[in-house]
């Protein structure tokens, strides 16, 4: 439970951090995914760039019609933010069910998205909310649609030297939305996490965490629902994970139950 030796650097600004990442550093935010994997020696970065003290990454603001959550905002901060509750209440609801209080007080939304654990809670929520991940690299800033962000198991569209700076999502105060999770009993990550957003016009977006090795928008279910059906098959066409908490068959069943429950919650 002791890491390999590494260098520790603290970034004071986004520019500073991006420069250090360009030199081969690895971002350290809440450290609640990175440090455990370093302690198990599964991950051995030479240099950690602590982005946890960059004030501009921690703000939650409204910019025009958008809610903008700094990548360094903690789960706890988001769970209790009145602006979040007003504009994208599902984020506050879901954040409140991540880990335990100490995890929520350290872990950050940016760290969670960059880490891209297939069972993490944020991916389903940002997908269903149709959020945008704003990143900064040596060549400037770019925005990645959530639906383009997750590319596989623990992998994203992020380049090594890019820093997530914010999550931008349009205000959806007039939509109904929910995030429902069946927690893996040990880690409390999502065995199945289902996010559903029903816009004022009745159209529905559905996304899942925990079901497949890449979090996904369930476009098959969406088209059934948006075509007028009152229920839908979850995760059809997706390859489903299997582990000792849930085999493929049971996970698929749970995805269906949770989709049904989420739809009932936004009805």
């Amino acid at each position: 439970m002791i890491t390999y030796p590494f260098q520790y650097k603290r970034a004071d600004s986004v520019a500073d951090a991006v420069a250090m990442l360009g030199e081969g550093g690895k971002a350290l935010s809440g450290g609640h995914s990175l440090i455990p994997s370093m302690k198990l020696r599964l991950n051995a970065p030479d240099t950690l760039v602590d982005v946890g003290r960059i004030a501009e990454l921690k703000t939650i603001t409204v910019d025009g019609n958008d809610l903008v959550i700094g990548a360094g905002a903690t789960h706890g901060q988001i769970a209790s933010s009145s602006v979040v509750k007003q504009h994208v209440p599902m984020f506050a609801e879901g954040a409140a069910h991540i880990g335990d209080p100490s995890v929520r007080n350290r872990g950050t939304i940016g760290g969670s998205l960059a880490h891209a654990d297939p069972s993490a809670d944020w991916p389903a929520m940002v997908l269903a909310a149709d959020a945008t991940i704003v990143v900064q690299g040596a060549n400037g800033s770019r925005s990645i649609a959530a639906s383009d962000f997750f590319t596989g198991l623990f992998s994203t569209a992020l380049e090594d030297d890019e820093l997530i700076t914010a999550i931008r999502v349009s205000s959806q105060a007039d939509a109904k939305m929910t995030y429902q999770k069946f927690a893996q009993p040990a880690s409390r990550y999502a065995l199945v996490g289902c996010a559903v957003v029903k816009s004022a016009d009745g159209s529905v977006r559905v996304a899942f965490s925990g079901v497949s090795d890449t979090p996904f928008r369930d476009s098959a279910a969406e088209s059934q629902l948006n075509g007028g059906a009152s229920s839908a098959n979850a995760a059809s066409g997706q390859s489903i994970m299997s582990d000792h908490f849930a085999t493929e068959e049971y996970r698929r069943h749970l995805a269906n139950v949770y989709l049904k429950r989420a739809l009932a919650a936004v009805a």
């Binding site: 439970m1 002791i2 390999y4 030796p5 198990l40 069946f182 009993p185 040990a186 880690s187 000792h244 908490f245 849930a246 085999t247 049971y250 069943h253 749970l254 139950v257």
Partner: protein, 792 residues
């Protein structure tokens, strides 16, 4: 004797240091020049060591030594402390459990050590361990005890061609049991697994060996439940060093649940290495190692049959069980499935014929040994599952079926103890009222109404019962010796009255969370009529405490406390002689109370402190009496103690997902007299959480290569506060008739009774939903398993 403290929920004096982070655990001890050990371990469950190259590791700056199996070949293996022979008399097979696996030999479970690196820091030791190059020849491995008995199964020890450690049968002759079952009107058959669990003490194991060359004396600091036992095993059997040259200290210990009873190879190895290097050597397990290497618990595969006559009276019980021993025989391993399990199969029932057939097998897994309850939870699980299933099958009420079959009350004083069919004689018992009290707390009739209504909703409701009797304070030595124990099971105590009347009590019990510093002091202060502040409890150091057998099997107060009582009696007896001399009266004219001897019917008295001072400054003193006021005693109990109780679980089962939600947990326990109700309740709470953990959450998962696949808290499910309801606890008190405090033991009861109650409750819920054919669901009852049981 006053009762100022006994029976009071006095706050634990040790908690001040524990909750302010000031406890002193082994890993907190830092000695000058101390080195750190890290082990190179087998990544395979079964593999031959082809070669080991330590050159690269030795070249790393800060590395002091790297030892391999060749270096420690002269050291004996870690011994087993209990011998159980085969049914045919053949001696139990006891493979050598070496310090390190030597080149050419085979590692027998994942984590078996092949080398140890000793370095200036733990970091360097870990880095250097990665630089030790071991060439392995991986071999097929087996983790399941049932599979280990199959033809062609990979052998754990090539000299034992069937993987059997021993087999054993117990109880009435099997023909008599066969006949009883044959004659039964109804026979319930239950096949089940009592799964393997990981002890998960909060403090991982830690050891510091320190050889002082000037004094020619070793000190071992160890996170142990029994320092003297470790000294005996390590000195006499492993390292062959004279016991008086070794001091074993068990400082604060953060939990054990059994796993810190045993003598482990790492303990002996750091002690040995400190002599080679003449510097202290520390090893602290990390959590991953704890999962892999701390002796596990349970792991039985059982088929049980219980026969009933037409009225529902139990006629006979026949059991076949396979128990997993792991790769080596740990300190008490052979006793757990046999004398701590087979002897408990009477339960609280009048079953006239009982026979158990047990096969104990080796597998390529870490050793299995006593874990909170040790054999009694397995026995209780068997009995309480099968009787509940029998009630279901026969269409009887499960509570009534129990009432009908309970052994009638006996106090062990005016009525004799109850002689079971499986050797034990229960001391005192009164079983029906604990079940009745449980039913009252539950509100049984209302519950069945609510259950009927729930059957049509999304969530099924279920209630599960478990009534248990267990055996604590294992003894007497002569009996356990005849049963194969290689040690006595008494306890020692010394009560040293200081000249000022302050009292130091030395006990061979060793708290690893039980609160001895409070409970034992409550007893001593009351018996002597002095303040608790005037009594100090000393434990955990073989140089200060004369001897001790330690803390396990809920024995500390019943056995250790009784030893203290014996010494107190001696103090008061001698004190009375001194007091009589000072007061110029006969001893018989004196009475003791409130901390003084008083001449009966007068106001003439002399205080405890004055007598103590006189004993050490004996100017005016009885002729011929030795000075001093300091007495040692050994107490070897006449029998075990037999706590009992009733645990009731209420669950809700989500029909769609199979998720179980434990709504209520009722525990009515009779643990004999209670010294500190708060501490007893705390022990019950912890035990319940562990028992519920086994029912719903915990359990090892091995893959086809005998690798533990859930050795971390991300995958191994520990029960958490939010998984558990507020516990509803109550007590009945039936004193133990054969020890001076009338106490029985409370450390394991929670873990013994609760597991079957929870599983029974889930089955009851399923039955209420029409799933009448479900007989068993494998523990832990994961959502998927329950869902499958409903959707088969």
């Amino acid at each position: 004797m006053s009762n100022k403290f006994i029976g009071q929920s006095i706050k634990r004096v040790e908690d001040k240091r524990f909750i302010t982070g000031k406890g002193r655990y082994t890993d907190d001890i830092k000695l000058p020049g101390m080195l750190h050990a890290h082990f190179v371990r087998s990544p395979y469950a079964h593999a031959r060591v082809v070669s080991i190259d330590t050159a690269e590791a030795l070249a790393i700056p800060g590395v002091v030594a790297v030892y391999t199996g060749d270096d420690v070949a002269a050291i004996n293996g870690v011994p087993c402390g209990w011998q159980v022979n085969f049914r045919n008399g053949e001696t139990m097979r006891e493979p050598k459990h070496p310090m390190l696996i030597a080149t050419g030999d085979t590692a027998k479970h994942a984590g078996d050590p092949v080398a140890v690196v000793i370095a200036e820091t733990k970091e360097i030791a870990i880095d250097a361990a990665e630089a030790v190059l071991v060439e392995w020849d991986e071999l097929p491995a087996i983790a399941s005890p049932a599979d280990a008995l199959k033809d062609g199964a990979p052998l754990v020890h090539s000299q034992f061609p069937d993987n059997k450690a021993f087999d054993w049968s117990f109880g009435n002759p099997v023909e008599e049991v066969d006949a009883a079952i044959e004659a039964s009107a109804h026979v319930t058959t239950l096949e089940f697994v009592n799964q393997r669990v990981v002890p998960n003490a909060m403090e991982p194991r830690a050891y510091i060996g320190h050889y002082d060359a000037v004094a020619d004396k070793y000190t071992l600091y160890t996170s142990t439940q029994n320092p003297h036992l470790i000294r005996l095993l390590m000195c006499a059997f492993v390292l062959g060093i004279p016991e008086h040259r070794v001091r074993v200290v068990g400082p604060d210990v953060g939990g054990g649940f059994g796993s810190k009873i045993y003598h482990y190879t790492e303990e002996a190895l750091v002690t040995w290495a400190s002599k080679q290097l003449e510097l202290p050597v520390k090893w602290t397990s990390d959590r991953s190692e704890a999962f892999l290497l701390d002796a596990h618990g349970r792991d039985h595969v059982t088929k049980a049959e219980m026969g009933f006559d037409a009225d529902g009276n139990i006629m006979g019980l026949r059991i076949k069980t396979i128990a997993n021993m792991g790769a080596y025989l740990s300190t008490f391993a052979p006793a757990v499935p046999t004398y701590l399990h087979g002897t408990l199969l009477q339960g609280l029932y009048t079953t006239p014929k009982i026979n158990i057939d047990m096969t104990c097998v080796f597998t390529h897994t870490v050793a299995v040994d006593a874990y909170r309850g040790a054999g009694r939870p397995e026995a209780t699980y068997l009995l309480e599952r099968i009787i509940e299933l029998a009630a279901h099958e026969m269409g009887k009420d499960p509570a009534q079926l129990r009432f009908q079959n309970f052994i009638p009350p006996f106090d062990g004083v005016t009525q004799p103890g109850y002689q079971t069919q499986v050797a034990l004689q229960y001391d005192s018992g009164n079983y029906a009222p604990v079940l009745q009290k449980g039913l009252d707390l539950l509100g049984y009739d209302d519950f069945r109404q609510a259950q009927k209504q729930a059957a049509n909703s999304n969530k099924l409701l279920g209630v599960g019962f478990s009534t248990y009797v267990e055996a604590c304070g294992i003894a007497p030595s002569a009996v356990v010796g005849a049963l194969g124990a290689r040690a006595g099971l008494y306890e020692s105590a010394q009560v040293r009255v200081q000249p000022t009347g302050k009292v130091s009590v030395f006990t061979g019990s060793h708290s690893h969370g039980q609160g001895h510093e409070t409970t034992f002091v409550q007893v001593v202060a009351d018996k002597l009529g002095i303040a608790m502040e005037d009594v100090e409890l000393v434990h955990g150091d073989s140089d200060t405490v004369a001897f001790g057998m330690g803390t396990y099997g809920s024995r500390s107060l019943a056995v250790g406390g009784s030893a203290i009582m014996k010494s107190i009696d001696k103090v008061l007896e001698k004190g009375a002689k001194i007091a009589a001399h000072k007061l110029e009266c006969a001893e018989g004219d004196l009475e003791y109370g409130e901390g003084k001897w008083t001449v009966k019917g007068t106001d003439k008295s002399i205080g405890f402190g004055d007598v103590a001072l006189t004993a050490y400054v004996p100017h005016v003193y009885p002729a011929g009496l030795e000075p001093g006021l300091d007495f040692s005693s050994f107490y070897d109990p006449a029998n075990f103690t037999y706590p009992f109780g009733c645990h009731i679980a209420v669950v809700e089962v989500d029909k769609e997902t199979g998720k179980v939600d434990l709504k209520r947990m009722i525990a009515v326990d009779d643990v004999g007299n209670i010294i500190n109700p708060m501490i007893v309740e705390g022990q019950i709470h912890g035990g319940l959480a562990q028992g519920i953990g086994q029912a719903l959450f915990e359990g090892t998962i091995y893959d086809e290569n005998a690798q533990l696949t859930n050795g971390s808290y991300m995958d191994y499910v520990m029960p958490r506060a939010d998984d558990l309801p507020m516990f509803e606890t109550a007590n009945q008190i039936t004193p133990c008739p054969h020890n001076p405090l009338g106490v029985k033991g409370a450390g394991e009861a929670g873990a013994i009774g609760s597991t079957p109650a929870v599983v029974n409750a889930v089955l009851d819920a399923l039955w209420s939903g029409g799933h009448n054919d479900v007989k068993d669901i494998l523990m832990p009852l994961t959502s998927e398993r329950v869902w499958r049981a409903m959707n088969n």
